[in-house]
Amino acid sequence: MNKEPMFHMSKRESITLGKRIMIYVAAILLALIVCAAVIVGLVHMNPLGVYKAIFDGALGSSRRIWITIRDTLVLLCIAVGLAPAFKMRFWNIGAEGQVLIGGVVSAACMIYLSDKVPNVVLILLMLAGSAIGGLIWGLIPTFFKAHWNTNETLFTLMMNYVAMQVVTFCICFWENPKGSNSVGIINQATQAGWLPSVAGNAYFWNVVIVTILTVAMFIYLKYSKQGYEVAVVGESDSTARYAGINVSKVMLRTMAISGAICGIAGFILVSGSAHTISTSTANGRGFTAIIVAWMAKFNTFIMILIAFGLVFMEKGATQIASQYGLNENASSIMLGIILFFLLGAEFFINYKIERNRK
């Protein structure tokens, strides 16, 4: 005998902000409980102690707080760059490569131009150069898509590996010391091309640049005609053509902006924090930023929160790795569990589950 199903789901028409926040809070609490169960079950440790270590790792001292902020800014910058591309439903998974190319151009300027031009000019050249580098890296796959309708997902992904090879190639020339197979800290003595400290704070300019980009992108997407075109193209090609929008042109323009901002993220990494370049300079942030952009639904202010949350967990992870002798993968598991619940929360925001009435 067939039994009647117990539950059914239906789409919500609207949801109050309070309820939405409650669902997210519930998701995080559930995630922490599951994490605790995993910690106790696998390594028999006190989960509260582990949570405290995570907090200490991210925000335990003034220095740690600034490192967390620094990394949040880079992740946020890439996510802000990806926002217009993904809003246009252009699957740009090539941010990794765009960041690397931006970084390479910055490093090249630092190495070749530091004794030729004043520092201010050098930094401005680095900023412009990295933006142009990222722009070109973003435009290549877009050009092919606009003209021959190639698949941008594969193309942008492959461009990442090309960018990595470009970096490897440059390292051969820039090796310091010779034979180390790495570039080392560039201009350590002169600090030429480093974003200067302001009032003793090394990351002042990082904050300024990323804040400007975040606010500008918010306004661009919401209030400008070009932002409106991005939204229409993202919804449907035929609607865009019907509205008289030149889809190829909008695609190229938007990816130019997206690539340029990702390139600037590379500049911030090289000039504003690492002061060196390697194939792992981007370190997967180009992919993590996709999650940041999508979860924030392209609202750049919400991206700040999400980027911070992810970096917070990452820093905490390093801490528990050293403090408890846990492998860093332990924190990846926790981050995975938290993301799982947060993405799952999206389902409960869009749908509701009801019990079938008898």
């Binding site: 009647e4 400008s224 005609k225 035929s238 609607t239 019907y242 509205a243 008289g244």
Partner: protein
């Protein structure tokens, strides 16, 4: 006399969120009966049928098949009970033959005996009066042949209760008549048929009984022999509706648009519009008739600048002695020439509007570029949105609610309202009332007539020939991309149009 029903529904209720799609619906179908299910769009017909075919599960109520209470939790449960549904959109594999599609997914022996299958299919065809070639591939078939395959597929699987969702929407009048003959044969054989349709004359000519739904509520079931068009409409709409469409005489028609030899090809180089010649006058409504896929879409899109034209010319006449060539220009170019061309496309939310945006943002879709500023002006379109909402009585919580959440009729009013607000010289509408309730439909016909009186050249593609013959001054008929004739709307007969809709021949153009 006690009679077992083939299928009975009692007190069926289905809710989607706060929307009640069906409330306490009762429905009974006898064996050997054709029951028409009548109701406006959004009255819950499709939801009800989806519960019988196992796509939805009812929140409350009971379903009985052959007098036994059953639970239908999946399409498979529904199949096992002998229930089959022919959807509006066919679900066939294009590259397989009819026979292969029919046996697809059926359990059977390891070795397929196609000869045997073909024989069985032909036996079914003879029994019910179908015409079918089991070895023909689906992509070579006409719409009506595909529909035949869908129906035989169900019969081959032993379905005794068949649901047909608006089966005649895609057929010519002649093909529809043939379908009804087949349905009558099936009825004689003891099958039960539920027919969903909007067309009242079909209801009256084929069904035994009619059940009427209105806004999710079950209204009544009446014997067809005791029903009239007026009584059915009244039950369907809930109030008496004036069914006559106004058709004022065109005043001082001037040539507005001329198509010469216009040919379009799709990406596979297949000709979709074949040397079409057409003249359109301001102050008249020109109707376009044809089976779906006959080139109507391409014709309108070629004029609107959305379809490349491989041959021929499209000339726009803003005034007498002035002309502008617009073939192969895109939407922005045409606008830049100062040609005021409004277009209500068939795919409302896929082309005409952006479902996730609110009314204001949709209203400015075709005018946002105006002005030199880099930033959007939402004030003017916002005021226009409010005006359109008030004038056309659009039901929506506010102009900042996404248009995708509105009902079909209101979505269409937003679209038509926006296009008319551009004060067009040429207004093109494709299927303006498809899926729209009767009251909104008449509101839209009135809007078209108003535009006509203002001297606008109105071109409309409408699938319902009855409406076309009542509304239009002239009717151009398309078949296979060719214009097979242009008729006077006041004197043309329905079967004349029907013949032209299927007339394939070169140079069949008869201009007046």
């Amino acid at each position: 006399m006690e009679q077992t029903y083939a299928i009975e529904l009692h007190n069926i209720t289905k809710r989607f969120g706060s929307v009640t799609a069906n409330e306490k619906v009762d429905l009974e179908v006898k064996k050997g009966e054709i029951l028409c299910l009548l109701g406006e769009n959004g009255s819950g017909k499709t939801t009800l049928m989806n519960m019988i075919s196992g796509i939805y599960y009812p929140d409350e109520g009971m379903i009985k098949v052959d007098g036994r209470e059953v639970r239908i939790r999946s399409p498979k449960d529904s199949f096992d009970l002998g229930i089959g549904m022919v959807h509006q959109h066919f679900k066939l594999v294009d590259i397989l033959t009819a026979a292969e599609n029919i046996i697809l997914g059926l359990p059977g022996k390891q070795i397929l005996n196609m000869k045997q299958v073909n024989k069985e299919i032909l036996e079914l065809a003879v029994k019910y009066g179908f015409e079918i070639d089991p070895k023909k591939k689906i992509y070579q078939m006409s719409v009506s042949e595909k529909q035949t395959v869908e129906i035989i597929k169900l019969l081959y699987r032993g379905a005794r209760i068949l649901i047909l969702d608006e089966p005649t929407a895609v057929l010519t009048p002649q093909e529809a008549d043939r379908l009804f003959e087949v349905l009558k044969n099936m009825k004689k054989d003891g099958c039960s048929i539920i027919l969903i349709t909007h067309k009242l004359h079909e209801v009256l000519s084929v069904s035994d009984r009619v059940s009427i739904l209105r806004k999710g509520l079950y209204i009544d079931t009446v014997k067809t022999s005791e029903a009239t068009v007026e009584s059915l409409t009244e039950m369907m709409v809930g109030a008496k509706v004036e069914l006559n469409i106004d058709r004022p005489e065109p005043v001082n028609p001037v040539k507005r648009l001329e198509l010469k030899n216009v040919t379009c090809k799709d990406i596979n180089e297949v000709v979709t519009l074949d040397h079409a010649d057409l003249t359109v006058y301001g102050g008249e409504i020109l109707g376009i008739a044809g089976i779906s896929g006959g080139g109507q879409k391409e014709l309108l899109e070629a004029i609107a600048g959305l379809q490349p034209v491989s041959e021929g010319s499209i000339t726009f006449y803003p005034e007498e002695n002035q002309s502008k060539e617009i073939a192969n220009l895109d939407v922005a170019d045409i606008r830049a020439l100062g040609v005021r061309l409004a277009f209500v496309p068939e795919d409302r939310l896929g082309m005409g509007l952006v479902g996730s945006m609110d009314m204001t943002d949709n209203i400015m879709l075709r005018s946002y570029q105006r002005g030199k500023s880099n930033f959007l002006d939402r004030k003017t379109p916002g005021e226009l949105a409010q005006k359109i909402k008030d004038q056309l009585e659009i039901v929506t919580p506010s102009i900042s609610a996404p248009v995708g959440q509105m009902s079909g009729g209101n979505v269409q009013k937003v679209l038509v309202g926006r296009e008319i607000a551009q004060k067009p010289k040429v207004l093109m509408v494709a299927y303006p009332t498809r899926g729209i309730d009767i009251n909104s439909s008449y509101a839209i016909y009135n809007l078209l007539n108003e535009q006509k009186k203002k001297g606008v050249a109105v071109i409309c593609v409408i699938e319902d020939l009855d409406v076309l013959l009542e509304l239009c001054d002239r009717i151009a008929v398309l078949c296979g991309g060719q214009i097979t004739g242009v008729l006077d709307g006041r004197t043309a007969k329905k079967d004349e149009v029907g013949v032209l809709m299927t007339k394939h021949e070169k140079g069949g153009v008869s201009h007046e």
